[in-house]
Symmetry: C2
């Protein structure tokens, strides 16, 4: 993933581009908060960010590209939190505590952006190979290896991640009416069972 | 779900319709075995079953309808096995053994019909509410209630079912190159952890 603004050539132009991109993404996030994913059109984002429509198209290609970029933006923030943020999500806490905190963070992040996650979900054959999904799974695998070194941590990580699938969260909260507190307790319970640790 | 041939009116016509439907589904299943899901067109099924193309359209509406009907057909066979078939899948074995056997049966059934499952998978917002998926989940919940009566069996059943998602099986076997034996061992291990029973 390109980090804009760090290359030695044309630092001002690149910093400008990064700021523009961030402004467009913030405008899109505001539109979603106010009108849901359906409210995000290229025109609406251009108007909200006070730029021309062409700028939005040049930056993201199309609406799907914009939705993916929005998720990528929030995925990187989450990733920064669990890679280098404060414990218990970040380093410093025992791996079991980090794993518990990770699931809760993912649950609430998905719940906040549920429509966006559903709209941007890849088709079945590519769903599990998506880079954003892989980054989370790799983190869970790393933590599991420290907690249950003799387990098949690759498979266990897949199961833990599958229980955090946005489509499942959508089903449980909106179709079955479960409160988020129950999903949070369910995650903590699942982690305890899978790692064979105390409740 | 309608059971054809059991209604008192026009028993012969209904039995005929059921036989025709079964013949078309068998022809479609043969085509998949020989040429993959891509080989299933309405024309090819009509030719293979020696009927007119119109008959196939009248019966299934379109290609997606035919694919769904094919899955429904095999789902009912699996359902008959775990509801009334011989143990350990059917009644008679302890619930823990039935749960182990259930996952293995679902795993191999999905692996056999992977392309069909992927082609017929519903969009994210409807994936978990699909009747075929619900029937399996209800069975898992029922077994879990007998094994871990104080657990949140609704949520645990969702997690167990998520680990049997055809899209995940596709990813693990075709994209990561894992053998089915490892997935089978992973299921047995997962059931032991989730139910806190011996390995």
């Amino acid at each position: 993933m390109l980090e804009v603004g760090t290359a030695p050539d044309e630092p001002c132009l690149r910093a400008d581009a990064a700021r523009n991109r961030a402004r467009l993404l913030e405008a899109a996030a505001r539109l979603i908060a106010e009108h849901g994913v359906a409210g995000v059109t290229m025109e609406a984002v251009a108007t909200a960010a006070q730029v021309g429509k062409g700028t939005v198209f040049r930056r993201f290609g199309d609406r799907t590209g914009l939705l993916m970029a929005l998720l990528d933006h929030s995925a990187r923030r989450l990733q920064a939190d669990f890679v280098g943020g404060p414990p218990p999500l970040g380093p410093g806490a025992p791996p079991l505590e980090r794993l518990r905190a990770f699931g809760v963070a993912v649950l609430y992040r998905s719940a906040e952006q549920l429509d966006l996650h559903l709209a941007a979900q890849a088709e079945p054959a590519r769903r599990f190979a998506h880079p954003a999904v892989e980054a989370l799974r790799v983190h869970v695998t790393m933590l599991l290896r420290q907690i249950v070194p003799d387990g098949d941590c690759d498979l266990l990580a897949q199961t833990l991640m599958a229980s955090l699938d946005p489509a499942l969260i959508h089903h449980l909260t909106r179709q079955c009416g479960m409160p988020m507190e129950r999903l949070e307790a369910g995650w903590t319970d699942l982690v305890a069972r899978v790692t064979r640790t105390g409740p």
